[in-house]
């Protein structure tokens, strides 16, 4: 298997599904017209955008009119948050969490400089958010509550449906970054009070450069991108037709594979995780084992550093990621692990393995047999490791 790539970094990005690629191809070659054109050559494309919208709506349990196409998850987050604040100009508070993605956290940081009061809900050792704390943080001055549906590093699932209800009790708008949950767990927005929701295409086997913003029917919306009339005035800019077709197809496939994701993929993840925990001492899972998306595991190894693990895995053709400081050039380990109070002795040595429906049992065995000597080798070099 030496020349093969074993890809277990699907929370970073995913492979485009071949069916998705086939679906989008004609819109890069043959049907390149602008859907806003008056001629048939361009205009015929609009029907395919409409189909994409329906496919997304069907995966989410939403209506097509509630779906807006954007360029990425970050654009969806920014659009949602800024629109919500524009909707309630008299309210000055934002409630979010310490474990959000930088797309939310850094925007909130900037809003803090503009005078908003931003509270970040803490998490416990398992990375869980206490609903009572959320209740205390939200008041009638809260404009927006933004809590992610699933965490990218640990895979933890947050009770966003309940948090949306709590937010509404105080008249606040609720947004969720669902980039890591859509396609991994069943979602039915019809039965929830979620107002705004962000999705990214490339985490779902569609290409990079396409995102979705769900805006609940009846919500006022202030566009982030200003210009033409596209997307019903919600997002100006000529439609990324090929990618819209792609994310539509990817959503349809995600629906089709949902049961597989929550059985086969989950079993593979559990197998991988339990074997590593069994065979490597002083290793443990970061996160809430009872309440995670089915594809993710985050394992901490005491007394070694994550970048070194990744480099050695990479040599063996295994693509993974880490919450270690050194992998990003920052000097502190991941904000998520720190918020969870993961001790420094293991936060630097954490490894995230995120699977997809393309992974196999054979690959899991290869990872296990490769990882064990890597951990042993690095521990032999570490001044802190004592047998």
């Amino acid at each position: 298997m030496n020349n093969k790539i074993v890809y277990v970094d699907n929370n970073a990005t995913t492979a485009v599904d071949p069916e998705v690629f086939e679906a989008m191809k004609p819109f890069l070659t043959q049907f390149y017209g602008n859907p806003s054109s008056i001629h048939y050559f361009g205009g015929q494309v609009a029907a395919h955008i409409a189909k994409g919208r329906e496919q997304i709506a069907s995966l989410l349990g939403a209506e097509p009119s509630e779906i807006t196409f954007t360029s990425c998850g970050t654009e969806s987050d920014s659009s949602a948050i800024l629109s919500a604040l524009n909707t309630c100009p008299t309210r000055r508070k934002i409630v979010t969490s310490k474990v959000e993605h930088p797309a939310v956290l850094n925007l909130c940081k900037q809003l803090r400089n503009k005078g908003y009061i931003v509270s970040e809900a803490p998490v416990d050792k398992l990375g869980r958010i206490d609903l009572n704390i959320i209740k205390e943080l939200i008041d009638t001055d809260t404009a927006l509550v933004s809590i992610m549906w699933a965490n990218n590093e640990t895979g933890n699932i947050y009770p966003v449906e309940k948090i949306a209800e709590i937010a509404h009790e105080k008249g606040a708008i609720f947004h969720t970054d669902a980039v890591q949950s859509v396609g991994k767990i069943p979602i039915n927005l019809k039965n929830t009070q979620i107002d705004l929701l962000s999705i990214s295409g490339h985490k779902l086997h569609a290409p990079k450069g396409i995102g979705i913003l769900y805006v609940k029917k009846g919500m006022r919306f202030y566009p982030f991108m200003i210009g033409g009339h596209q997307e019903n005035g919600r997002r100006a800019g000529t439609e990324n037709v090929a990618s819209i077709v792609a994310i539509g197809k990817a959503a349809e496939l995600a629906g089709k594979h949902m049961a597989f994701e929550n059985s086969e993929v989950k079993e593979l993840r559990d197998y991988l995780e339990s074997q590593i925990l069994k065979k490597v001492k002083n290793s443990r899972v970061n996160g809430d084992i009872e309440n995670r998306v089915p594809n993710t595991t985050n394992i901490a190894f005491d007394m070694i550093e994550g970048e070194a693990i990744l480099l050695l895995l990479d040599k063996a053709g295994i693509c993974a990621s880490s919450g270690s400081a050194c992998t990003t050039g920052s000097l502190e380990p991941s904000h998520v692990l720190r918020a969870m109070g993961v001790p420094y002795t293991s936060a630097h040595g954490s490894l995230r393995l995120s699977l997809s429906r393309y992974n196999t049992k054979e690959e899991m065995d290869y990872i296990i047999e490769t990882l064990i000597p890597i951990i042993a080798k690095l521990r032999a070099i570490s001044p802190y490791w004592k047998e």
């Binding site: 007394m303 070694i304 550093e305 070194a308 050194c326 920052s330 000097l331 070099i381 001044p383």
Partner: protein
């Protein structure tokens, strides 16, 4: 993804001289686990006083392991006098270069070597002679102002990012970035022209008061607040700054040290070297 040289990858994948020496002549550990890297270096001398055996153990990323490994090759066979001349820059050069953000790995190598040699000589390892007067600037990584000054001068570093790349200071919470900038400004401006003291004596009384207030608000109070203390600027009588210490500082037995070192030091450094601080009791 980091762009490591072949040499870095070679030393990372096949580290030389890993381990401990049972009865070493010199041994030291620098760094610590919370900072993300640490290096334990030990050596044994031969009868001619040359390094005969050297071993390392490193907790850290690829470039930290590579820096440690190549350092052991560089010092082997050298006398201590020659070995201690090795700088972090020599380590970087031997590796064929390191990414800017990883320079601190080579600094760790240099420090471990110097500390191990100091251990052999039976002296306490200090980064430079006035380090015990050093004030901790970066609390996240425990970096003193004297260390920042030395690094800046030795490596001609003029930016805060440069300092962060060399010793991590300012790389975590970022609260000390302004502090580092002022230290750098102090070094490089005073080199261009030593008008600093002139400019302070040419300040009007009001300008001086405003400047002192801003240093107290922006620099000194945040420092004291971290330990539960506080400070109020009461009056300026000639060159005597009258302040009132509050909170935990007011009850602190070492308040006079704080006053002398931190408060007066800071005001002397930034506003005027003639200033003295007095506490209103």
């Amino acid at each position: 993804m980091w762009n490591y040289t072949e040499k870095v990858m070679d030393h990372f994948l096949n580290p030389r001289n890993v381990g401990d020496i049972e009865k070493p002549d010199g041994e030291a550990t620098v760094g610590n686990i919370s900072c993300g890297d640490a290096l334990k270096l030990s050596f044994k001398l031969d009868s001619n006083g040359k390094i005969a055996e050297v071993k390392f153990k490193t907790f850290g990323c690829g470039s930290a392991i590579a820096s440690s490994s190549i350092l052991t090759e560089m010092v082997k066979g050298k006398t201590l006098e020659d070995a201690e001349k090795i700088t972090n820059k020599d380590i970087v050069d031997a590796l064929g270069g390191l990414p800017e953000e990883k320079i601190h790995c080579s600094v760790m190598g240099m420090e471990a070597l110097q500390a191990a040699i100091a251990n052999y000589r039976g002296v306490e390892y200090v980064q430079d002679e006035d380090d015990h007067h050093g004030r901790v600037v970066c609390h996240c990584f425990g970096v003193t102002d004297s260390k920042i000054r030395k690094l800046a001068k030795d490596n001609n570093i003029k930016s805060v990012e440069g300092i962060t790349n060399y010793c991590k200071a300012g790389g975590a919470c970022g609260r000390c970035k302004n502090d580092i900038k002022e230290i750098l400004d102090g070094i490089w401006k005073s080199e261009v022209n030593s008008e600093k003291s002139d400019s302070s004596s040419s300040m009007t009384f009001t300008q001086k008061v405003i400047k002192i207030q801003s240093v107290i608000d922006g620099e000194i109070r945040p420092m004291l607040e971290r330990d539960g203390g506080n400070i109020e600027f009461i009056d300026l009588k000639g060159d005597i700054v009258v302040v009132k210490l509050k909170g935990r500082c007011a009850m602190c037995p070492s308040a006079s040290v704080t006053l002398r070192n931190s408060v007066e030091g800071k005001l002397k450094e930034i506003v005027s070297p003639d200033l003295k601080v007095e506490e209103l009791k």
